[in-house]
């Protein structure tokens, strides 16, 4: 079964540093997403991406965040200057049709810890 992969699985960084989280969506999917989940809290939507551009973004997704699909397979989330409150699990997802039903597939997540 196809799957979404994410690297790294864990990342520790110093406050103020830039981080890039990488995702490889399922190859024939067209919609890509980033979500985050602060430990013990609910999941939060960050951004969706379609046709090589952002289609929607939440209030969380400010100027410190950016997304890119640099080479047609990877889908990256960059945080320019990390803050302590960026510590969370970051999930990538892609969506496509399974039969007639649109289905989202999630990656295993990247746990980011900002010190």
């Amino acid at each position: 079964e196809p799957e979404v992969t994410q690297t790294p699985s864990h990342q520790v960084t110093q406050m103020g540093q830039e981080v890039i989280l990488r995702c490889v969506p399922i190859s024939n999917h067209l919609y890509f997403y980033w979500y985050r989940q602060i430990l013990g809290q609910k999941v939060e939507f960050l951004v969706s991406f379609y046709n090589n551009e952002i289609s929607e973004k939440s209030e969380i997704f400010d100027d410190q965040f950016s997304v890119e699909r640099p080479d047609g397979s990877n889908f990256t989330l960059k945080i320019r200057s990390t803050k302590l409150e960026d510590s969370a699990m970051y999930f990538c997802a892609s969506s496509g049709y399974s039969g007639s039903q649109e289905t989202q597939y999630f990656g295993p997540g990247t746990r980011l810890l900002v010190l």
Binding site: K42, S48, S55, S58, A93, F106, P108, G109
Partner: protein
């Protein structure tokens, strides 16, 4: 503003019992999408269903079923004959027609005891 309420913070049932997880939403949109996700103890997220607001038919998938009631703004999820592997946090979510204002509920932690 969009809002999703999952009033049940935690539920415990014994294996083989049926259990219903409640989800109530608020939106001013006439077209919107509702979702359910599962997050087992291992932490990954699993998509379960997406439902368009115009489709009020109940959905059944194996032991899972969903009851969408527009009149009460609810999208409840029932697990029939629960199993230990159903133990997880279940999130209900809502988005508008364009996928903006994507809001998750706080989640319901379901524990199925053997």
């Amino acid at each position: 503003a969009q809002k999703v309420t999952q009033a049940q913070t935690e539920i415990s049932v014994v294996e083989k019992e049926d259990v219903t997880l409640d989800c109530v939403y608020e939106t001013r949109d006439t077209t919107y999408y509702l979702f359910w996700y599962k997050q087992p103890p291992s932490g990954e997220l699993v998509f379960l269903i997406r439902r368009n607001s115009f489709d009020e038919q109940n959905e059944i998938s194996g032991r899972y079923s969903w009851n969408f009631q527009k009149s009460t703004s609810s999208f409840n999820f029932t697990i029939t004959a629960s199993q230990v592997v159903d133990s997880a946090v279940y999130f209900c979510a809502l988005s508008d027609d364009y996928g903006q204002n994507f809001v998750f509920g706080p989640g319901t932690r379901l524990s199925v005891l053997p």
